[in-house]
């Protein structure tokens, strides 16, 4: 990636900051900024996993559906009297397994990632609806509610901490490990990677597994924050995550990208939403603006 491609999203975010702080006096308040960070954290967690999938030349449309099902299962287990540790463990484990199933479909089943995850997305949405019978599962466990609703030092929301921890771990995984190197190699040239002895199928299971795991984590945090699990939770989140990845400068064709860009992309979307709210722009037009921003970002990227 060229320096300009890397810096583009960062410059965009800084510009947005300057414009919003001039136009709205409330924007730069600590309270507002932390609220936005908390909102962003769910999308960022999913988008980190999505970055690995896209870098490896794939796509994962099932992330929102995995979030909903794992959130519901976690809440459901606690509702039926199980402890928080078991419930969260089961939720995360389920996310990992569902991701691995995506990986199996893509690698051994040789199904195009778009189709494979479109299929599992639909299937998992249906499973979530039948599991919840369409009604929300309330959360009563107070310590579980802290996961998404708690604060550190009475100031920083816990989800923000999760987001930064996940960012550091994922960034290291991508840049500092053999696994990360192989992810980029597969996305850059799968055949060359295979001929170099990279085990493609196990890698894909791990990559989609990671995406599933992070989506499940997002599901647990969201369920905790909302005090309930809803079957329709996370609808459309896959597109927000893909938008964050692409805004961050990662190529949808795979093989080129970075995790910091994804973080910046997620922040861009979050602050844009927030700014438009503060400015009193109607939610109808907010979507229009978001769409235009994404298109401009991608067009600028193509020009270089």
């Amino acid at each position: 990636m060229t320096l300009m491609q890397r810096l583009g999203s960062v410059i965009g975010l800084l510009l947005l900051f300057v414009v919003l702080s001039i136009m709205s006096p409330d924007f730069l308040s600590t309270g507002n900024l932390l609220t936005v960070l908390r909102q962003v954290s769910i999308n960022a967690l999913i988008a980190f996993g999505m970055t690995f999938v896209i870098l490896a030349g794939g796509i994962d449309l099932s992330v929102g559906a995995i979030l909903a099902l794992t959130g519901a299962v976690t809440a459901g287990l606690m509702a039926s009297g199980h402890g928080m540790v078991l419930a969260v463990g089961a939720g995360l484990g389920l996310g990992l397994v569902l991701g691995i199933i995506n990986g199996v479909l893509v690698s051994w089943g040789k199904v195009a990632p778009f189709i494979a995850t479109l299929g599992t997305m639909t299937l998992l949405r249906g499973l979530t609806l039948s599991y919840t019978q369409g009604s929300p599962i309330p959360v009563t466990n107070q310590s579980f509610a802290l996961l998404g609703g708690g604060y550190v030092a009475n100031l920083i929301p816990l989800p923000v901490i999760w987001m930064f921890v996940a960012f550091v771990v994922c960034a290291f995984l991508l840049r500092g490990t053999v696994f990360g190197r192989h992810v980029v190699a597969i996305g850059g040239n799968e055949e060359a990677a295979r001929l170099s002895g990279v085990r493609i199928s196990p890698m894909k299971l791990a990559i989609y597994g990671l995406s599933g795991l992070l989506s499940a984590f997002a599901g647990v945090v969201l369920t905790s924050r909302l005090y309930s699990a809803q079957a329709t939770a996370g609808a459309g989140y896959e597109l927000d995550a893909i938008a964050a990845v692409v805004l961050g400068g990662t190529s949808l064709a795979g093989g080129r990208g970075w995790l910091f860009g994804t973080l910046v992309g997620a922040l861009l979307i979050g602050f844009l939403n927030n700014g438009l709210n503060l400015l009193g722009v109607s939610s109808f037009y907010q979507q229009v603006v978001k769409g235009i921003v994404i298109l401009i970002a991608v067009l600028l990227d193509r020009r270089q």
Partner: protein, 495 residues
């Protein structure tokens, strides 16, 4: 020169991309009825010059005359108007469409707004006849044609558009012997008819057999134009690289050791019952026509395709790799023929490409200093020319890219190294360096299986030569004393 002005005259052409000067005052002239070779090392500026002639790039300075008239060619469509056409190395045909559909793509004949298939088929047959392909049915889909036939279709399309200047970029790279002969016959016929042909190639033998004049570029500079009759091979090399090469094929003192790779009755896919021994320190050349099963043999050995029957042992131990990973663990390396599609991750840095088969790491964590040290060592050992090991390999020249592929495997210290067309698309200077590397490896005791379609290369570099024909091994010759004729006889199935 005759009284009539040349077909094309390019003079004083300058072109820079940002700070990089690619062409600095290049002249080039093509007259009617000549085959004019354009030579130069990779990166010398040949393709940029041809892209300017076909309107893809605009020159910064200099001009182009067509038939003595100054013209400005600003798009491929305009080049076509002046009768200038290019036959690309990567053929630009749509595989799922028919020959006729491809011939008329973008300029379909129509009646009342509907495609006039009858007229197009009829015209397509006329065009195909002009390139001697009377037996091809215009309704055949492109994907069912051989590479040679596809190339003929491309030439037919260019001629159908009244091309008088035909640019051919490495046209024989993927052709069989007989397809090459057919192509040469056609080129000579077109020359008789007055077409001017620019022939871009690295293959010296072909150029001397076919071309009338040679123009040579070096580092973006125009070195000169020479008439081929009476021209010496060494003279051309000297003009291209700016110095005399010590030898085209560096010598090696063979130090042949024990049997390292023993292949017995190996079959699978199109490979049928192939047996041979490969010794430590030996270069075993594998010759044969395109489609003889040479690459398929390499793929079987490397665990890429399924082995039907037979046995392979490495240093006395039976090996049956089912994946490249297992083959690498067993001690094999495989430099594939298509470095861009199979050898390199173009968007990754040189460092990352070199360490792809085995990233220096502790417990899964990349050892960055160790990786840099390893890369630095290989850059020095293979004389890879690059400013920075962090640059994407996409930016390197063909010869340097090929060295990166070699470096990738050398890092593993393989016991057996399979090379598939190791010098394809590499210029003369780069070739000599790669030969030198092959010799060094053999001297270090690596057993080398070298597949090559260039007979002089196979004869000069190998200790022994395995010749294949239709999946079978038809001869195993001592390279010393073997002749091109003997190899070709075995390669075509003769005894």
């Amino acid at each position: 020169m005759s009284a009539s002005p040349p077909l094309v005259r390019m003079h004083g052409i300058h072109k820079a991309f940002g700070p990089v000067k690619v062409l600095e005052g290049v002249d080039f002239e093509l007259v009617r009825g000549e085959v004019h070779a354009l030579m130069g090392e990779n990166g010398a500026g040949k393709s940029t010059l041809m892209k300017i002639l076909t309107g893809i790039y605009a020159p910064d300075q200099g001009g182009i005359d067509v038939d003595g008239q100054a013209v400005s060619i600003t798009s491929p469509a305009e080049a076509e108007k002046y009768g200038i056409a290019i036959i690309h190395q990567e053929l630009n045909l749509i595989p799922a469409l028919s020959i006729a559909d491809n011939l008329f793509l973008g300029r379909e004949l129509s009646r009342f707004g509907l495609l006039d298939r009858k007229a197009m088929t009829k015209r397509a047959m006329e065009w195909l006849a002009r390139v001697g392909m009377t037996r091809l049915d215009p309704d055949t889909r492109i994907e069912r044609l051989s590479v040679g036939q596809q190339q003929m279709v491309e030439i037919a399309r260019a001629l159908g558009q009244n091309a008088r200047v035909l640019i051919m970029d490495e046209p024989t790279a993927a052709l069989t012997e007989s397809e090459t002969n057919t192509l040469f016959k056609l080129i000579r016929e077109l020359r008789e008819q007055g077409t001017g042909i620019v022939y871009v190639s690295h293959r010296m033998e072909e150029i001397f057999a076919l071309c009338d004049r040679i123009s040579i570029l070096r580092d973006g500079q125009f070195v000169g134009t020479r008439d081929v009759p009476g021209l010496a091979f060494d003279e051309v090399v000297k003009m291209m690289v700016g110095r005399t090469l010590d030898a085209r094929f560096p010598a090696r003192t063979p130090k042949i050791g024990e049997v390292r790779l023993k292949v017995e009755h190996l079959s699978g896919g199109m490979v049928k019952d192939v047996s041979f021994d490969l010794h430590a320190g030996e270069v075993l050349g594998v010759a044969g026509l395109l489609g003889a099963g040479r690459t398929e043999l390499a793929r079987l050995l490397f665990g890429l395709d399924k082995t039907g029957s037979g046995q392979v042992s490495l240093d006395g131990v039976t090996v049956t790799p089912k994946t490249p990973t297992e083959a690498i663990q067993a001690g094999l390396g495989f430099v594939t023929e298509d470095r861009k599609a199979q050898g390199l991750v173009l968007d990754m840095s040189l460092r990352e490409n070199v360490s792809l088969p085995r990233v220096p790491a502790h417990a899964g964590l990349v050892d960055r200093p160790g990786e840099k040290k390893q890369t630095r060592g290989l850059i020095d050992a293979l004389k890879i020319r690059t400013r920075d090991m962090e640059l994407d390999v996409r930016a390197l020249s063909g010869g340097n890219q090929q060295k990166v592929v070699l470096a990738k495997w050398l890092a593993l210290k393989p016991r057996v190294l399979i090379l598939d067309e190791p010098t394809r698309g590499v210029d003369v200077g780069g070739k000599a360096e790669i030969y030198h590397i092959i010799n060094q490896l053999a001297e270090q005791g690596v057993a080398i299986l070298m597949i090559s379609s260039e007979l002089p290369e196979v004869l000069a570099m190998s200790d022994r030569i395995l010749v294949m024909h239709e999946g079978k091994a038809t001869a195993l010759l001592e390279a010393h004393g073997a002749t091109q004729e003997a190899v070709m006889t075995a390669a075509t199935g003769g005894k």
